[in-house]
């Protein structure tokens, strides 16, 4: 069955520290993976997608098919990075269904 697992509910770091938010997936086909972010009182928005292989706000994520992982990384956390982060898998099957993990709350302290 298709599934996305984010093992940490909360990740707490100090400003300037490296950040890694973990995401593992279970999918039999070729996965298309995303990271969505939700800042306080804002709507859920796309942060990055693996097919674009770009860095957004200093965040990167690499798809590792061998480990079925798509971890989100940033070398130096900023206070404005504090938010809820969701990893999502696109289940094609003829329609666009996103399967989300439970989310990780990132708290960056000054």
């Amino acid at each position: 069955a298709q599934r996305v697992t984010q093992p940490e509910k909360l990740l707490s770091v100090f400003k300037g520290a490296p950040v890694e938010l973990k995401c593992n997936y279970s999918y039999s086909g070729s996965p298309e993976l995303f990271w969505y972010v939700q800042y306080s009182r804002q709507r859920l928005q796309l942060l990055l997608r693996h097919i674009s292989r770009e860095s957004i706000k200093g965040f990167t994520a690499d798809l590792n098919k061998g480990e079925t992982s798509f971890h989100l990384k940033k070398p130096f956390a900023q206070e404005e990075d504090s938010a809820m982060y969701y990893c999502a898998l696109l289940f094609g099957g003829g329609y666009n269904k996103l399967i989300f993990g439970a989310g990780t709350r990132l708290a960056v302290h000054p």
Partner: protein, 110 residues
């Protein structure tokens, strides 16, 4: 462009009642999806509509139904409300695989 808009923003209903939630997609987007987000969990897929036709349905009971209008706006209906239907209901529109989310409708069933 205001992005995806949803109404109402908050709603309180009594068990057994029926509710209708509304969504207007981004101009030009023909696909609308609905998600349910229960506190502490990631969004869970309910429906996708494309060009007024249902393309996909998640694991929700028949009490949940939706439709899409010629202008691509959409309604989600939930009948015979249960306490467990209390959640944030998110609408997303898309042109391709990237989903753009609305602010959501917070439904509380008492």
């Amino acid at each position: 462009d205001a992005g995806v808009t949803q109404s109402p923003t908050h709603l309180i209903k009594t068990r057994g009642q029926q509710v209708t939630l509304r969504c207007s997609p981004i101009s030009g987007h023909k696909s609308v999806s609905w998600y349910q987000q229960v506190l502490g969990q990631g969004p869970q897929f309910i429906f996708q509509y494309y060009e007024k036709e249902e393309r996909g349905r998640g694991n929700f009971p028949d009490r949940f139904s939706a439709r899409q209008f010629p202008n691509y706006s959409s309604e989600l209906n939930v009948n015979a409300l249960l306490l467990g239907d209390s959640a944030l209901y998110l609408c997303a529109s898309s042109l391709s695989s990237e989903a753009f989310f609305g602010q959501g409708t917070r439904l509380t069933v008492v």
